[in-house]
């Protein structure tokens, strides 16, 4: 592995932490990524030297803060190859972004009898907003199902994508199955049917190069906290002509053009969607996170994570009674592996692993309809990042064996 990935615990001090007297093996990167010092320092610097509210003052500090805030918009646009910084709306999170789209754009374009097409592998954040929209508008929510190998059934998608479909909302990478869906192809199909496509890139944007123009996504959403930035900052990319049509959903300072007692008019996008004081520090951190990722390079990060997955996958499949969900191919897992261990409940497994310093998630991963389809209540999920090491993975596999043995002993 290239040197770039050595000694990353200098940048990520949490990786040196002990958990229950064992070295931390952090394998819940799909829930949230760790935050490098470079990001924290950039934010700290901002508050210690240039903190002021944005878009408000004509004084030097305010101008510096505003320039920094808007400069990151250019960075984000470049990071996902958006046509213009004006197509980048800052939000709180992927969830906030998806709700913005479902409320503002959804209310605008979806009417009674229309269909909204999502997939059965969606995170609740890319599911309930559409379920609610369908209820509000008396539209129909349809689900694309899985193939036998638990990847997306493209035949089913083609079958369900019709001229009744107003909108397709789909995750680029599943947070449970780890599979990456062929967004570009799906966007093309959607557009052939005059449907719009909303892409949930929460699990992809930190792990592969995402190019909104190449994908031809109408909207694309992600969260800073899953890409090395802090919590509380997210992005909603929208095609400029769509953002232009959309009404704001929150009202207040910053987003207005002019206000009278009886009426108000809005600024242009993206500002009309950013009511009130935004998460300025979060934006500054997002810029630093993009710098960090870009310095390594998204292609190298992707290759590194593929390598780690390829290393781990056969070790897991070799564990007796361990069931992996999703594809049988390591290369289809983008660093995310959900599994169960015999009849053991995922909570019990996760507690055992936690005793050994290994932090994985156990639960429904905010994907209950998918759990029902997989025929389980919950799973254990390990998810990697480029800063994980081979030793992490070895400890993880060893810990699984120990947990298995522990419960085999106990249940005798």
């Amino acid at each position: 592995m290239p040197n770039k990935f050595k000694n990353l615990s200098h940048d990520f001090p949490i990786l040196k932490r002990k958990i229950n007297d064992e070295p931390l093996v952090y394998l819940d990167n799909a829930a949230t990524s760790q935050t490098p010092n470079q990001v924290l320092n950039r934010i700290g610097d901002f508050y210690q030297h240039s903190n002021a509210n944005v878009h408000r003052g004509v004084y030097t500090l305010a101008n510096e803060a505003t320039a920094a805030y808007e400069q990151v918009r250019n960075q984000v646009a470049a990071f996902i190859n958006a046509p213009s910084a004006k197509s980048i709306v800052y939000t709180r999170s992927t969830t906030d972004s998806l709700n913005l789209i479902a409320t503002s754009f959804g209310n605008l374009v979806v009417t009674q009898g229309d269909e909204i097409l999502i997939t059965i592998m969606e995170h609740h954040s890319n599911l309930i907003p559409w379920q609610q929209l369908a209820k509000r508008k008396h539209a129909t929510l349809r689900y694309v199902e899985l193939n036998a190998d638990q990847t997306l059934d493209m035949a089913d998608l083609k079958h369900k994508l019709t001229n009744k479909t107003k909108l397709v909302a789909i995750t680029q990478t599943s947070n449970v199955l780890g599979v990456t869906n062929p967004i570009k192809e799906i966007a093309k199909l959607a557009h052939q049917h005059q449907a719009y496509i909303v892409v949930d890139a929460a699990q992809s944007v930190a792990h592969q190069k995402v190019d909104v123009q190449d994908l031809d996504a109408d909207f694309l959403t992600f969260s800073g906290h899953k890409m090395l930035a802090t919590t509380g900052i997210g992005v909603c990319y929208g095609k400029p002509e769509l953002l232009a049509e959309m009404p704001p959903v929150q009202f207040g300072g910053e987003m207005i053009e002019s206000v009278s007692r009886t009426n108000a008019t809005w600024q242009a996008a993206p500002w009309k969607f950013e009511a009130g004081t935004p998460n300025i520090g979060g934006v500054i951190g997002l810029g630093a996170a993009i710098d960090y990722l870009s310095e390594i390079g998204m292609a190298e990060i992707n290759a590194r994570e593929q390598q780690l997955t390829a290393y781990l996958f056969p070790k897991l499949t070799a564990v007796n009674k361990l069931t992996i969900y999703g594809s049988k191919e390591a290369s289809q897992h983008a660093g995310i592996i959900s599994f169960n261990l015999g009849q053991l409940h995922p909570h019990d497994v996760a507690t055992g692993l936690d005793m050994l310093g290994v932090e994985v998630r156990a639960g429904h991963h905010c994907a209950q309809p998918l759990m029902a389809t997989l025929g389980v209540q919950a799973t254990v999920r390990a998810s990697l990042s480029f800063y994980n090491s081979v030793e992490d993975l070895d400890r993880f596999v060893q810990a699984i064996q120990m947990v298995k043995e522990f419960f085999a002993g106990e249940s005798k």
């Binding site: 909570h347 019990d348 005793m355 050994l356 639960g363 060893q398 947990v403 522990f406």
Partner: protein, 146 residues
């Protein structure tokens, strides 16, 4: 690397209750029943309470979950049956105190029976929700659930 500490949580009696839970069935003639979800894993427990006069005559549960939640539900059905309504509500309260590592009275310990052993959950704070799910459902049912 060792899992010694886990023995505190998964003691024989806990594993026993989990693999052979007591009163795991629906009570069709229950006075009240309440279903609660553990929102992080999707586990659910429904507690059924059959009252006679002011006494808890029968307690049962349905639903799936981890070792801790199943064992705890099983112990709960043993513990609450036979108590008065006031005692049973107080018993649930005492259980919540116990698993948060607080001292509880001798009287409360008597009510809890086997369940006292789940005091060890206090060392595993992430599992308190698993341990208390059934008891929260029971308490709500006692207080007049639907």
């Amino acid at each position: 690397m060792s899992l010694n500490k886990l023995n505190q949580l998964y003691m024989a009696v806990v594993m026993d209750h989990a693999s052979h839970p007591h009163h795991k069935l629906a009570l069709p003639d229950a006075t009240t029943s309440v279903e609660l979800h553990n929102v992080s894993c999707g586990d659910d427990i429904r507690a059924f309470i059959l009252m006679k006069d002011d006494k808890v005559q029968q307690v049962s549960f349905t639903g799936n979950g981890c070792t801790i939640s199943q064992a705890s539900a099983s112990m709960m059905t043993d513990a609450l049956a036979g108590l008065t309504k006031t005692e049973a509500v107080a018993g649930c309260e005492a259980f919540f105190q116990l698993v948060m590592g607080k001292q509880i009275s001798t009287k409360a310990k008597a009510w809890l029976g086997d369940a006292e052993i789940l005091g060890s959950v206090a060392e595993f704070p992430a599992r308190i929700k698993c341990a208390t799910l059934a008891w929260h459902a029971a308490q709500e049912a006692l207080e007049g659930g639907n």
